[in-house]
Every structure is written in structure tokens, then in C-alpha cells.
């Protein structure tokens, strides 16, 4: 099966601190991969390198066979862990913005997702609550027919109702020809949607594999394995 993402000997250092240490990872086409780890484990650093917001100190990253750059930005749909939309925008402006910049943006899908998330086109970005922000951002990101989706903590800090809506949106709108990378520390809520999981600890991969196989091998749920690894 084709590798959508190939990561070889990836290291990222900030002065003396090593955020990622010699990571090797391949992500196959059509897989939903959970990058799991507590705060500070290197999850966000890893996906920032994949999206071109950070530069690696060593190693190589290929997405769809290309080094991170303008091409990979056109095929990666990224959901950051913050409110990244311009504050002067309305929901409609954000929709037009995505439509203008991304050829793979599906207008019909966005309108469906907007209805599902109970958001209106004339809402102003600066007046949205945390949960509404998260839902709008996700609607924009999932409305692209991208080759790789990168979602950074998609359900962190939102109420349980919004959390369910977000998870449903991810499951219902996932495209099987694409790959999806999701970072989270809320493992119990998300483990059912992962095909593969990668456990990151202090910038290193401590365990990785197929979620179902790991459950069988260990006789535990993924969130129990998570606790076993990270609770000292």
C-alpha cells in the first residue's frame, strides 16, 4: 500500500531541548492514525513540521512523495489547535477564502457540514464560542477533498455535545482515499476511529501499531495502554 507520509530520522531541537528525537514513521493511504501522548510529548511539533509551519533540524519528511512545500500545502488539510481564521471574517468570508485558495474545496459538503454543526453564514468569527470555532474550523478542513488531513487536538476544550458532533463529522466525512492524522490526549473519546496508533513520549515513539492488534495483544483498550505508558 502506498505511503502518504514518510518520516525518516526526524529530529527537532530548540536550543538544548530535543522536541523530536529520530522519529521514523510511515502513514499508509486510507488510514486514520492517532498520534497519542500527553502535553509536551512532541505531537504538535510533529504535525507542524508536516504542515510546513516548523522546520526539522535533521531528517526527511515526504508527503505524497514530495518534500514539505507549496505542493504539499495544497494537498494537506490542517486543523490547528487554535483559532487561526482572520478575526475580521464572517463564516461566509472564511468559506469564500477556502474556496478561493483550495481547488479541492467542496462547497456542497461545507454547506452540509455547516447545517450539521448548526452554524450560520452571517456569523462573525470574533463572536463565536470556543466550541463553535472548533466546529467551523473542522467544517472548513473536512470540506476539502485533501490527500492528507491533519487534525491537532480536534476535541480539546469543547463541551460533550460539540465533542460528539465533531467526532460524527470526522467519521461521516472521512474520505477513504485519503489519510488522516489526529493528535489527541483524549484517547478514550477518540480511540474507536483510529486504524493505527502511535504513542509519543518525550519526542520519541515508544509504541506504534494497528489499534485492533494492540488491543488483542495487550488485552486492553487503547486508553488503558495509554495510561500504562504515560502514568509512571
Amino acid at each position: 500500500m502506498k505511503h502518504m507520509v514518510e518520516i525518516r530520522n526526524l529530529t527537532k531541537t530548540y536550543f538544548t531541548k530535543r522536541a523530536l528525537n529520530n522519529i521514523n514513521l510511515n502513514i499508509e493511504e486510507g488510514k486514520v492514525v492517532g498520534i497519542l501522548g500527553p502535553n509536551g510529548s512532541g505531537k504538535t511539533t510533529l504535525i507542524k513540521i508536516l504542515t510546513g509551519l516548523l522546520r526539522q533540524s535533521k531528517g526527511e519528511v515526504l508527503i505524497d512523495g514530495h518534500k514539505v512545500g507549496t505542493y504539499t500545502k495544497s494537498i494537506v488539510s490542517y486543523l490547528p489547535d487554535r483559532n487561526f481564521l482572520y478575526t475580521w471574517m464572517t463564516v461566509k468570508d472564511a468559506f469564500m477564502f477556502y474556496k478561493d485558495f483550495y481547488r479541492d474545496f467542496d462547497e456542497g459538503k461545507f454547506k452540509e457540514l455547516l447545517d450539521f454543526m448548526q452554524l450560520e453564514m452571517d456569523m462573525k468569527i470574533r463572536t463565536l464560542s470556543k466550541g463553535m470555532h472548533e466546529k467551523l474550523n473542522l467544517a472548513l478542513v473536512l470540506s476539502r477533498n485533501a490527500k492528507l488531513y491533519v487534525l491537532d487536538e480536534p476535541i480539546a476544550g469543547v463541551d460533550p455535545v460539540a465533542r460528539d458532533q465533531i467526532l460524527d463529522a470526522i467519521i461521516n466525512n472521512y474520505n477513504e482515499k485519503s489519510s488522516m492524522l489526529i493528535t489527541t490526549h483524549l484517547v478514550r473519546d477518540m480511540e474507536n476511529i483510529f486504524d493505527d496508533v502511535v504513542f509519543l513520549k518525550n519526542g520519541e515513539i515508544v509504541l506504534e501499531g494497528n489499534a485492533e492488534v494492540l488491543r488483542e495483544e495487550k488485552g486492553k483498550r487503547i486508553d488503558e495502554i495509554y495510561k500504562e505508558i504515560f502514568v509512571v
Binding site: 509551519l53 500545502k73 487554535r82 483559532n83 481564521l85 468570508d93
Partner: protein
């Protein structure tokens, strides 16, 4: 790039329109007070003075607001959107630069035209527009010099803007800490001083000048104008006693070269070096 320009303009136009409205209202008030009062009371003098201060302050704030639009990309969450767009560093920088130039040009032209209109309206003499135009033609305005000066100011302004953006990008790459992000200004001052110094050196090394009025090229001593040497910030423009404007050719080309290099350098930093 055109699409990003569109969204940059949409994001700023309300602020610029507000600034223009404020400046034009205060300008109208100033002209009205200055022409309709005789002798002037302390209150009127205070109004004119404060209006002048507010206009100056507003334009300075606008300059910082426009220039800061690039810095916001480097330090605020909006950078997560801008820098993940499928655009090159040069395209992002180009869009920022073009929009800044559009705003500065718009502000400059509208404010200058408004002053002319105010002068015309509030002038105590009954004079028609055609008479004003005829008088200007009779005086024989040095249109070529005026146009050359406008082009020169535009080129210098563009280079200064690029240097500002370059300083911000260098500051962001070198110091990740937002608290010392203002260090870009210090970098800008040092770079500006170094460039001005090197431009003077280039002008001294290749002292060939272009006289805009006559389109003659030669060394300074070939022009018998009796110069008071009035070197501009980039050390390449001189004004003769008869109003002639001379450009040092080598230095002017050097300035444009610096502008192009710093533009490409900033684009490179955006694309390959800046960590958000």
C-alpha cells in the same frame, strides 16, 4: 497572490476608511477655522494645533498599523492560516507589500487632493479652476522633475517597506520570544544606516549623474548648476540651485538591487526558516 491581496484589502479597508474620514473632517475644520476667523481666539488656535496633532498621530498610527500587518502573521495565530496556504514566501510577501503600497498611495493622493480642494474652497479670492490651471501652465511647472521625484519617492518608499519586512523576518528567525519582537526596529535602523553608507560609497565610486530636466548624463563637475548638495536618505539624489534634480545612476541601481535582494531574502525566510 491576487487572492491574498483581495483578502488583505477586505481585512483593512474599514480601518483605512475610518482614518481617512477622521483626517478629512479635521482638515476641513482646520481650513474653516483658519480662513473664517480674524485674529483668532486661544480656543481656535488650540483647535488648529490639536487637529494637526491628531492628523499627524493618526497617520503615524496608520503607518504602524499597515506595517504591523506583516508582523501579525509572524507572531499571531493568523499565521497558521497564511503560512499553510499553497503560496510561496515571495507571493505572501508580495501581497503584503502591494496592499501596503495601495494604502499609502491612496492615503497620500486623497489627502493631497483634499488639501487642494480645501484651498480652492476657502481661498479668499474669486478664481476659477481654469484660471488656476492656466496660471500653473504659464509658470511652467517642471512636470518632468515632479514625475521623477514621485517615481523616486515611490521606489524609495517600496525599498524602505521591504527593509522593514526583512528586519521583522530576521528578528522572528533570530528571537522566537515575542517580548523582544520589537527588536526588528533596531535591526531596521542598523540595516538602513549600513545601506545608506554603502550607497554613498557607491555614489562616490561611480559619480555619474542623470539630470532629469535635460536627460544629460555626466559627472557633477560637468553640470554648472552650483549645487547645494542635498543628499537624500539613500545618498543618490541631489538638487541643483536651479531646481534641477540629479540622480546618481549607480547608487539608484544599487538601491533597487538591495530592494530585490531583501525581498527575495524575506521570501526565503518566510518559506524556509520561520518557525511558528
Amino acid at each position: 497572490m491576487g487572492k491574498l491581496i483581495k483578502y488583505e484589502i477586505r481585512g483593512n479597508y474599514k480601518f483605512i476608511a475610518g482614518v481617512l474620514a477622521l483626517v478629512l473632517i479635521l482638515t476641513t475644520g482646520m481650513y474653516a477655522y483658519m480662513t473664517n476667523t480674524k485674529g483668532g481666539s486661544p480656543f481656535e488656535a488650540m483647535f488648529v494645533f490639536l487637529s494637526f496633532l491628531v492628523i499627524f498621530g493618526t497617520l503615524l498610527a496608520t503607518f504602524l498599523y499597515i506595517v504591523n500587518s506583516f508582523r501579525k502573521e509572524l507572531y499571531e495565530d493568523r499565521g497558521y492560516l497564511t503560512f499553510t496556504l499553497p503560496l510561496t514566501g515571495n507571493q505572501i510577501l508580495g501581497a503584503k507589500l502591494i496592499v501596503a503600497l495601495i494604502w499609502f498611495t491612496t492615503l497620500g493622493i486623497v489627502i493631497a487632493l483634499y488639501h487642494l480642494i480645501m484651498l480652492y474652497i476657502f481661498t479668499p479670492y474669486d478664481i476659477s479652476l481654469s484660471q488656476i490651471f492656466e496660471t500653473l501652465m504659464d509658470i511652467g511647472l517642471p512636470f518632468r522633475d515632479i514625475i521623477a521625484s514621485i517615481i523616486f519617492t515611490f521606489v524609495n518608499g517600496t525599498i524602505t517597506l521591504i527593509l522593514i519586512y526583512f528586519s521583522m523576518a530576521i528578528s522572528r528567525v533570530t528571537f522566537r520570544n515575542k517580548k523582544i519582537g520589537g527588536l526588528w526596529f533596531l535591526i531596521f535602523l542598523v540595516l538602513n544606516a549600513l545601506i545608506a553608507f554603502s550607497q554613498v560609497k557607491v555614489a562616490q565610486l561611480l559619480p555619474y549623474y542623470l539630470d532629469i530636466s535635460s536627460f544629460r548624463i555626466g559627472r557633477i563637475d560637468m553640470f554648472s548648476y552650483g549645487f547645494h548638495i542635498d543628499v537624500d536618505s539613500y545618498g543618490v539624489m541631489m538638487t541643483g540651485n536651479f531646481g534641477n534634480i540629479l540622480f546618481n545612476i549607480a547608487s539608484f541601481i544599487y538601491s533597487i538591487g538591495i530592494g530585490v535582494l531583501t525581498f527575495l531574502g524575506t521570501g526565503y525566510l518566510i518559506e524556509h526558516k520561520i518557525d511558528l
